[in-house]
Symmetry: C2
Subunit: 228 residues, 2 copies
Amino acid sequence: MQDVRHFSGELDELKARLLDMGALAEQRVVSAMRALQDRDAQQISEIVHGDRDVNVLHLEIDDRCFKLLALQQPMAVDLRTIMAAVKINGDLERVGDLAVNIAEAAARYIRHSPIKPVVDVPRMGELAQAMLHDALSAFVALDPMAARQVLIQDDLLDELNDRLFRELLRHMLNDPRTIEAGIDLILIARHLERIGDHATNIAEDVIFIVDAKDIRHRAVDAVDSTRP
Amino acid sequence: MQDVRHFSGELDELKARLLDMGALAEQRVVSAMRALQDRDAQQISEIVHGDRDVNVLHLEIDDRCFKLLALQQPMAVDLRTIMAAVKINGDLERVGDLAVNIAEAAARYIRHSPIKPVVDVPRMGELAQAMLHDALSAFVALDPMAARQVLIQDDLLDELNDRLFRELLRHMLNDPRTIEAGIDLILIARHLERIGDHATNIAEDVIFIVDAKDIRHRAVDAVDSTRP
């Protein structure tokens, strides 16, 4: 009984650390986007060079997962939770890297005149952040309904990215002086789209934990279900 | 004894499936790059729509890992191998996605005149492919020395990407008619750079399996080692 309680405590601690990691990654994305809007070179530089905390947590969480698997030999939902934690940890580490990528592009972007009518970049940033937040909340609550909402938001983020790409291209063709700034905004939008992809991965992991059902590659399922 | 033999067979089978997955992902990158160079719209379209096999294998391998963890309760090097397999599987699935991303950019690129003097894109493609190949060979042989070679190659790939970015930017500024094609080559180069990142992840996992040592985030280690 004591062992069970101990294990459950360890699992709660693992989830808490993943949430810390998520909050940190989210914070870095928000800071990078704010620094971009404020054209704040100092803040941008801090994001580029400040990924140590994310990396420390990444290693710590991986280590926790390994020890839980080695010492506790968990089954069923607990095993699925730990397997999902390994993946979610990897996704969050990549989100931290993407915050760095955004800041690197922002550092170049602010050397040029801003491109005015682009409102979709901050909007994409807010959406990507919301998706990440919602995916992690769904993980804590083990709420597959909330997780499915994240999947829907991802389609909107992709749509915003496509629209922005076309809009920026038009600017660059009309006014070649916007080429350099335009490329960096295109790259930043891509990074935000990928943050949305990582939030989507996390949401899919939540559905896997709860429903013991792998909903990734839904097209694959669709094809398989038509088989005789 | 029979159980041990059975488990060892299952683990070999898992590795074999991961190699299949790696070969498939690598093949798709090679095809996407060849289709880009041949300006072959038909081949490009096949890559964009042909990721079903990768996705089927991705699910199958994840399932194998889960069952091995659930039924065999592996320890030490076997547990590390399975944990690494979960991650490598995720990396290879992303490489498959990146082949699609390359093909999507290639589909746009071939609508415009080619940008002539860019020799670094095929070179980046060959390097990314070689890194992926070497990382998987290192995984099969559990050879940390070979894995470390992959990490060195990644620096070269990043360097090629930076150089290409500057070269393309110069083209676009000199001749705005190259803007659209230039953007797509910049995106393709980024996708190749990310394939290199996934090969690097795999190489780091190999070192983790063999040395039971986590060498990711080496800067973190460096800072920690100076602590009293």
